[in-house]
Point group: D3
């Protein structure tokens, strides 16, 4: 009789054999509006048994690949720096083992921990950012570590012209002004992604992909802290993921599912499907896997 | 003072006068993920008083036609074969009386009872199937009678080339392989439906129409057991219904509304509207009504 | 230490300085299906702190303008005539002070109070009406004052050809027949709005804009008394608002948010965003503000 | 094939044979805080199929008696006087036929219609009133017809000393002062009910019993417009019902279930059980039934 | 890096070392009213991290004992006999290894599988049954295997006078008549439990303890398929568990938590606490553990 | 026309005139299980309009007294020390003005800010603590500032024998051992409160009263982060408040309402009522008010 192992469906490889490693960061202490993203990774894992492992979109199956789910980190609520340190350590360990770290948030601040680890290994890191919100504030009510500032903190690590933002439709005026000077921002949708991907492919630069699921329209993804009308559809996001994963993605995250805010379960089911498609697209497209 | 009769709005013909007869099958015992489809037909009936009987899409009114609502069958939970027998008997009675049986599920398995009755009367029956899921498994954890296997069971009744599937975006690999050989499957949307309808019209074959409402995108229909992102819109479904009902439809069903999973009531309201439009389109298009 | 003032975000001008004045009418006593619109204006105000004041769509900020939020009227449930009188008095006061009254419902009946005031000041008033429902019944179960009759009552005030309806997809047959003779009705979407706006701009007639938020598709706006599948998207509504506000709008309302029907909060968040965009578009476009 | 009749479980007698007649008044237009009591009677009827007809408390079965359920009146929202007239007419018809009218609200205002009918037949009527709220306001924001004024209106019909109130734990100071002079008020619980019942039995006066279900503690009955902590338990209410029904009860009502406010369904299930026990207690205890 | 093990808090012994073994049976296909008990065991496990392992009631800690959580069986929905066979096999394996099987339902039918295994090992088995419902129907709509019949089926295994029922407050008349002749039934509460326990202790007979959590009052446990007003409090249940576990309990179950029916999470949290207290009481009281 | 002022019902005194000052601390960043207490104070204020200002329990009215509601502090999520500093500053200001500060949480950690201010003014401060949880951990996953450690931090300020705990029914073993040596802990209920109050009255020591609303049983107060079965009833809490307020209470708080966790609204309504009764009891009992 075995103990009860719970992983994302089809991700039951051993760590040793795995090319992609999932890890959850159930943290949401800086969420300014509606908390609950802490419950995201466990919900994705738990509800994934309602999902097929096979993708008719990509004609591939999660069980065709070697993916390991390491469960959730035990993070300390209310202590952002300590939580980020734990996330960074986990990402670093996975990267050092030559594997691909895929982080499940949590609020968007968790990205900072993973980017810190990635930029250490890949100093020329680019970041592709799908999100409804610019997340470029310098501080939020005095806090430098806030989900509303995470891309600004990342900018301090990678510098100008390395952050490529899509679907942005919310922020204060100063954030849009900052973006005009320091990042490549595409408002509202994925216009420009194909061109960017071509450039990223040519230059072969390492890319961190961060997907704030609230880039999706609230009609199909209401279960998030700060829903913003006017987003993209699931099929548009799927297309964008299949496009951008042709580049040299070296680490990634999905974040900001707050499952209890949507009692229909549709947001969680959609997040599961986005994760399945992302895993398959990464497995097919990431150079590291070709070996 | 009269007792309290509750029927779908505008469907208060007598059985004798009716051309279409509604009957509900509140069964969901084989639902593998989230139960609740048992509450579907009663919710459709109960919430229909929030709907107009007039359709501005088809410029017609439910009260222009003769439709009878016979309420729900009393089915035994946990006993699929017995439930299917009761459904089959009801469908058979309606068909023998020269009327059109319209079944309200319940989980998709209930379709099998109605198809058994229809294929007895119409041995050359075709099935048009709108659904997110292929439902072509041979068994589910050992059970041959499962909502995940219902089209496979139907295939055993009607044979190759007689099942026409649309909007399919979920299943295991084996189901898609089975479909490639035995059914006509259109993935993701209604592409191909106009051509099919033309053929069906020309050949005048009898057609059973089964609509799993989860073919709709979860954004407009979250209240279902296994929501699948990437579905069609209400207007696309409406268009498809108006197209396919030009063929010789002899029986039909709507299923998989699980109303309590969507506390906004939108899924139920949408199911009511799909039913109204289906009833009007059938009444206008079915040859049997021209007399 | 100050008392706790709660207004729609960014609308903290003084009454004296303000060009636009918000006022709420928390009334829903004639709602025939699902009540709850009474909670709409308070929810919009309360949840607006999750919204940015800056609009990337119009590159403008609520704080660029002078808007005053006067809170909710205290209306008597169950007494429609008395409630309408209170609404009319408030609208009249604002109009007399040369300001723009923007009413937050409440059920759609509240519009009648504001139109009564507007038509007194502007006898040649036109009404532009975005709604899923025709609202043209002569009475509802005997009541002349009902949310289902509100445009019919308005028609009695402004006469033939002055009411311009868009997105209408529900009503009984008689309402559509009435519209064919007495109003300009555009079914289903905003087709014709650009042309109408051109005419309104040329003639410079004063226009009342009434937005029943259920013109939106239930997928993005489930939190309303009578959701109707097949509506417009947020971006389509945003575009329509930016179009029509080029005309000489003299008063307006947003109504029929029933926030507790949508526990995800998305309907309220969307209503907040529609209000922000409407306020900015009005401030930019209304001739009265140019002085 | 029969149409779909829906009645409270076990209440399928014919009108002619019935001793008790149920009728629903789905009205809540004057509810001042949270509407939804309009959905009460239909929910009680619909969810009663989850209840047994047999009571182990009273060792009797609903099917032992002759009870008829006449369904819901179609009342006009927003028109209190018209709604009350319809309720009064129905109550009068039942009383004239020598039967016992049992009204299902709806907000508490509906009681006034039934009391008007009862006092016409029984000029010496007493009223026993179980409620969290005194309901003795003279007006509510100017309205004389409001659920907050219903016992005050009843007092105008029956006069001093004829209204006996129990469980009252909310009201403004003026209501408690009014009660001290004009009614017999027992605060908080059922203290005094046994003594009162003895007096009522001795004098054999006709009694109207009105049960506002919010007399129950919100822990067991949260689904009501204005929940008030500190109420009685189900077993205490059951005991009170069994006590008071020894008197000469000639008409009764249960009101203020707002089922959608309690998504667990417990409030509705409890209301069903209170109704079953009330019906059995009345059938056993009412002199009129002994013949 | 380890895979993600999820067990009930504090139950992370190895199987070999364990004295008590938890196993879940997520089955609810015969539930006649509201399904959802299938989600019970996973919810108990998942939400247990909100619970302390220490009990101030019994001054003991789950980590003082050796308990193993074997997770959920994978049962086939819609196939009761097959599900019961899987449950029986698991219970048998645990019993044969000299350990105590503690089953987490699922609907109450699952008890039958465990009782079949227990009665094989202990032919003189008694059953102590805490429940709101008698569960003594001979069949339910023709089905012999139904949650409404489970104690009747158990009676066929253990015979007259061996089933001791407490808290029963719902059933049809025939069930109460059956109980009068064949079981020892205590209606409404735990009256008689102390005396029974004394007898069981003296005779040292092996006892199966089955706790349908709906014995609790719906005020503290609304999340169950068929809530019945008038139940016992948590403290009364705790006291009863501490009493009865002085007897020679050889196997047990907790069932009928339907977590999604109670979105407050209180029902699940209470079930977790009942399980903790049951585990500690069993560990302290069961003779088998003294060795 | 006035701006929209929102305060707790009946608390519209000016600051200058007020004897009691309400202030909200919407903070919950260290909540370890389910966040949402941040929404507590706004919900209490907003929903208070469903409450009467008159208390039939104490025969007094909120409007008899002078109470000022200063609204919510704007606190920085994720920065506990900064939030506590803001709370302390506000409490200090109120105390220095000779008024009574009544803090509305927020999670229980907010108490620490207010106690810091109180102990500065009253070095011999005692704390009376009503709570389900001991809150005596030295740290929680490394954090010293956590809602689970708040009374431990308070103990560092006031020392042994000054903290009096009631209703405690959850904690780890070490917390109960700590309490045995350093605080006066009464488990489960209010046993001992009358005696303690007598002593406090005699010694006239200044007392801080902190009420974690989860001391209430989850049946009447499910809307809290960590509900614990087996709590006290509303009437028991009311009685305890009326008892303890005879002592020299100098500051107080109510905390841990998480309103969105209870969609019935009962938890918020109950919190409103507890606050009304607390305000009235304080106003009647506090020596400072007698002048």
């Amino acid at each position: 009789m075995q103990p009860n192992i719970e992983n994302f469906i089809g991700c039951d490889s051993s760590y040793r054999a795995a090319s992609i490693v999932l890890y959850g960061a159930p943290y949401d202490s800086t969420t300014s509006y509606r908390p609950g993203a802490r419950f995201g990774p466990a919900a994705i894992r738990h509800e994934s048994y309602g999902l097929e492992t096979y993708s008719p979109y990509q004609n591939a199956d999660l069980t065709d690949f070697d993916i390991f789910d390491s469960g959730d980190l035990e993070l300390c609520f209310g202590s952002s720096e300590s939580a980020l340190a734990d996330i960074e350590a986990r990402a670093e360990e996975i990267l050092q083992d030559g594997k691909f770290p895929l982080l499940l948030g949590g609020e968007h601040l968790v990205t900072l921990g993973a980017v810190r680890a990635a930029v250490k290994k890949y100093p020329d890191l680019h970041i592709v950012h799908f999100d409804a919100h610019a997340d470029l504030r310098d501080d939020y009510l005095g806090a430098k570590l806030s989900h509303a500032c995470v891309l600004r903190r990342c900018h301090e690590l990678v510098g100008d012209g390395r952050i490529h933002q899509f679907c942005i439709r919310s922020g204060d005026r100063a954030e849009f002004e900052f973006a005009a000077q320091h990042t490549e921002m595409h408002k509202f949708d994925f216009t420009g992604l194909a061109e960017l991907t071509e450039q990223l492919c040519e230059s072969k630069v390492p890319v961190y992909l961060t997907i704030d699921l609230d880039c999706l329209d609230p009609s199909c993804f209401p279960g998030t802290g700060t829903p913003e009308a006017g987003g993209v559809s699931f099929l548009q996001l799927l297309d964008a993921i299949r496009t951008v994963t042709k580049a040299n993605i070296v680490a990634a995250d999905l974040n900001e599912l707050a499952p209890t805010l949507d009692t229909t379960g549709v947001s969680t089911a959609t997040a599961c499907k986005v994760l399945r498609e992302t895993l398959i697209a990464l497995d097919k497209g990431w150079p590291g896997f070709q070996v």
